[in-house]
Symmetry: D2
Subunit: 383 residues, 4 copies
């Protein structure tokens, strides 16, 4: 029997794809490892296809299924709506959920456009409901350690930020677009290509660590111009960006390069970031996410070198809750950490970041990037 | 509600320390990710300290607690006894559980001595109960990929095996021995030091991959000669081996070096293994467990190099069940894989390895190592 | 006694700073390792400061010294003028040397401006003298191996080029500008900052490997606005670019990011390049210059990984001339290779690359970068 | 014209194979980079084959050749005899050279047996001539930095030493033994296999860094039992050790593992060493020789990690003489450093290490290793 002093929080998850799984796992495991004031209950899984929903419910122990998200949103059994469905559904669901007084979590990016995102922000703020966007990479222990170092001033004045997100899964021209698992190639569903899918992560982390981005100049490219569309069965123009890169200036005077692509052969999900400061630098990458590279200029000259920190000690962020030093955790744990922080925040009244409002700032940057690529000019970022 | 076609398997876990947690997590998560014919139910957690057991039960959702393992072993509610308690309890519990007709899983090493281990093997075989020892590192996807490569003959004739397990957590002379969390330094509880604790892992993997070890010459050392004992409150001689190294010859003619220590400053849990064959070589290490280094001599000469394989693709062992390529899993997943294999084996009638009998072979090697170190001579390994 | 069948080539080197040393070493060692039709003779070293020239001559075995480069250029004893002096002297010396009928080698970049460079090209072409620019990094064996792979079509269609040159030696605001060893911070001498000093290397290699760059959008920054000038003794505005980054499109349709800075704490001379093609990718970096990372998509799926090729085998470019496999060479050897290629080319009548004309193309790109940064717009590259 | 204040030192080198080249290069380059009181003059190269000697002389600028080493040793023109010929010639030449009053440098190992080595030590000491053995790896800047750290007490009490030397060039059974370039496989010429060829390096460095080795237990193996002999043209038994490994105890109480082999597929010349001390650890390897891995336990707990030190700064051993930070040197430079130290020592009266006497200690260890492998027992090392 579970601890009695934990309040239950009934969760309704919409979407049972990749993100439905990561979120379900997070809700399901968080209380095994973290002392939090609420225990998430996997109440209802919602998907249009009832069989798929049932199979997912069986896997994860959901108490019930639902095929109409509107009913889920209205259900009095549900405390929190978690949106893990494709991007074109985010705004409508989030706004309805907020109006129904539910807490709302939303997979990133918030909306397909700043207009959608602004409406979502307004909805949750008008309703006064707890809200959060799943920018999970902030909760990698090594990335959180970066944040600590920066907040402590250890890097000093920041000169450079350098980040890429490299994948290679869409290189084949035989890959179709649209439909289950491939909606990320369909601009009408996804909003954009790698800019919203990948660079949004880079941007969220960057602004969290290094402050506001002021202006950008960008280029985008679609290498494969047409692909068979799964929904029409015909060759259709590809309207997403396969690759996107931009130069940026931050408010703090530092310079940045950002790049994302799905055409970088050899890289599956290589999200890297590097920050160069006057007194030190850090490098992190997702392919070995449990490591942080740290260069400390204050080390004795002769013995300076990049330290490869195996971020698995009990004094590292989140790691006390896991195993023993040297034993690494992985990707899925970032979602567990985010739920843990959300639940702790619910208890203490401190909202877990990023809120919808904070995530909107990322959408302003991605929008400026797409504008700049279209206009071939520098673009100021809204804020 | 969970899938109806899965049979329940009621689990009683003994011990709620580090290993109690890894096992509980494995039983709890396996059906979220693997299609197996049985669903483990966390029925009862057993620990001498009732409060501790209750707190653990709350965390993990055990239905009940027990403070006397003898009662647990006799309970008709329990299908499988999982031994996650200190080494000095393994034999007695396992034998009693087998006699009570329960399936038995046992944390490694099997017993403190070959005599204990042999009695355990006899008990499970006499009772005809399913049994398994938690040599979890076999189930690291990268290590399982090694096994595939070797079984396919890709490395050719094997010349060398090279393996270490390096830690640094007992260097301080202020660290006491004995009692909660420190029984591994107390020879009467642990049986031996790093030989049984760490080298047992190296040996199990090595014989699984490369066959029987025939003879060894070893040295051991205890760097800190006395430590305060937590149970007596007094300084007591340290009787475990702090470090242990040996040379070995395998039945297949290959040579090996093995070394383990808790005095390797800078290494938290660095288990590494390297195999050199006529046509190729592999290297793996636990600090980046999701990577395999592979050298293929059949590559074009000019372009030969060690490949750093990020073992996260869907055609890698176990990985189809997890996330998407590039997203790494960690330490805890090896236990989930082992439970998945055990449950699949239960369904198909194929025992999951290593059985008690197979694990006994490792104990024969560790025994030979300790003998050799004491006698300063080469020792043949029993089998 | 040296081999009789080698013709002597009398060298006059101008400048005895860092580059004077690398060139002298190259001329001096080349015949120890390479079979070439000419033997360079270190005839005369030229520097304004006679004592410094004499000391340099003693170190390197020059037969004589000269303090007036005009006299050197006119000397009948000299076959080849090598320009290793600051950038503001390149054009004048090169043009005079060409007019005097000497072969000319010039340290990069060619001139401070395209106008200077064009005049230099015209001079050597009008005179019909052998000429070469010291873009030494082409001759790193690993980089030359890249070139082979690309020329063999192994990477397939190229999608991305990614390159940086990161240093950290000018971060301190106490560092003065101008004068001996620090002329690179003085725009009137250097022409530009990192754009001409560092990015020129990135660009030269990039166009050699991947073809013409068509257009760029750039940003530059000067982080420290004033520094004491060694020649005036006063604080003066810093007019060079401390950092420079640009996005580019190549003629072959691939996208690129370029960045150089002297404010990347922790990196001494980290020149890296990465190329992503349809069938494979390569990564190289100067800090471990004897390694090439190669990803071959045609490897068996399960066993794909980045190969770390230790480019020290006898079938690797230039390496047959050096030691035995596994024994690395370093930075200085790139200059030796360049001289070897130059001398072989003299014998066979094939000009060693890059010629002045080819190097001019790099200056067109650096010029476009500086223009773009000033104008905040995309700029087409001249060619 | 060379500096007038440097005295000439006339060198006679015996042997123009691989080591003849590394030594010639060292003598030839040392004064370009180091301020030393003597300038080596490449006076005479000696080899049995006159054509080969002449060709070598042409390459390197030797003034004359000689085909009979006895004449060279007696020549009044020669100040220093450098022995770069196969092992079976070392003792006879060194003793004759010493008797003739020449300084003597000898390629390692000293003799084929301790008896030969002892006679060599006696000869140079009786003659009172300067002497040195080419254990070049001490002069890798990163290894010398290790030495500094240890001498400063930064690692604290040493617990472990771990070293291997792995190659893969003799795996093919088609490779013959004996004769030019392959005498290392012929026991009568080489003395032993990898024990004297490779482990001698590991042992020399180890005792220099960590003190005397007291006892060993070893195993050796010859994987390919017969090979065609180039001198007889017939298949002959292979009498060298293809692989050799041993456990050791140092006088300071630390434990060690040593292993060398020519059957480690994928490793060309991977000499690695690791030292674990109470307060820190270091790792170095020859494949990236310009890097030192250093772990400092006194770093702040949360930020501890292995530092990858790029040993190319001007405050690193020897590096001030080379290029600028970040630009690596390679294998050949270790020989140049050794000559520089020898020449400086000549000037100051301090013998450069290792002397014949010091190198003899290494031969005692390799002898103990071979004895132990033969006797299957622990063996005390003579000293």
């Amino acid at each position: 029997m579970a601890g009695n002093n934990m309040k239950k929080l009934n969760i309704g998850v919409i979407g049972c794809g990749f993100m439905g799984r990561t979120h379900s796992n997070a809700f399901s495991k968080v209380t095994n490892f973290f002392d939090v004031p609420y225990r998430p209950v996997l109440k209802t899984i919602c998907a249009r296809n009832g069989d798929r929903a049932q199979s997912f419910a069986d896997k994860w122990g959901y108490e019930s299924i639902e095929t109409d998200w509107r009913k889920l949103v209205e259900s009095p059994d549900i405390d929190l709506i978690d949106i893990a469905s494709p991007n074109d559904t985010h705004a409508e669901i989030a706004i309805a959920a907020a109006k129904a007084g539910k807490m709302v979590m939303c997979e990133k990016p918030l909306g397909r456009t700043p207009a959608e995102s602004e409406a979502m922000v307004k909805a949750v703020e008008d309703a006064g409901v707890a809200n959060m966007v799943w920018y999970n990479y902030r909760r990698v222990p090594a990335v959180m350690l970066d944040k600590q170092l920066i907040d402590e001033g250890r890097l000093g004045r920041i000169f450079h930020y350098r980040t890429v997100f490299l994948q290679d899964w869409t290189i084949s021209s035989d890959l179709p677009q649209g439909g289950e698992g491939l909606w990320r190639l369909d601009a009408s569903v996804a909003g954009s290509g790698v800019t919203g899918d990948l660079l949004a992560h880079n941007i969220d982390t960057a602004m969290w660590l290094n402050g506001q981005i002021e202006e950008v100049t960008a280029m985008t490219e679609t290498f494969i111009k047409t692909r068979k569309h799964n929904l029409t069965g015909k060759d259709e123009p590809v309207r997403i960006d396969d690759a996107s890169a931009f130069l940026a200036r931050f408010q703090n005077g530092s310079l940045a390069t950002f790049e994302a692509t799905r055409y970088a052969r050899g890289h599956k999900a290589l999200y890297t970031l590097e920050i160069n400061g006057e007194n030190g630098s850090i490098i992190w990458d997702l392919h070995d996410l449990h490591r942080l590279q740290f260069f400390d200029y204050r080390d004795e000259s002769r013995l300076r070198g990049w330290r490869s920190i195996h971020v698995t000690d009990s004094d590292h962020p989140y790691m006390k809750q896991w195993w023993v030093p040297g034993l690494q955790i992985g990707y899925e744990h970032t979602f567990i950490h985010q739920v843990a922080d959300f639940l702790s925040g619910l208890g203490s009244g401190v909202a877990a970041a990023p809120s919808f409002r904070e995530a909107l700032l990322t959408d302003y940057v991605t929008d400026a990037v797409l504008q700049s690529a279209a206009n071939r000019s520098w673009v100021k970022v809204a804020s």
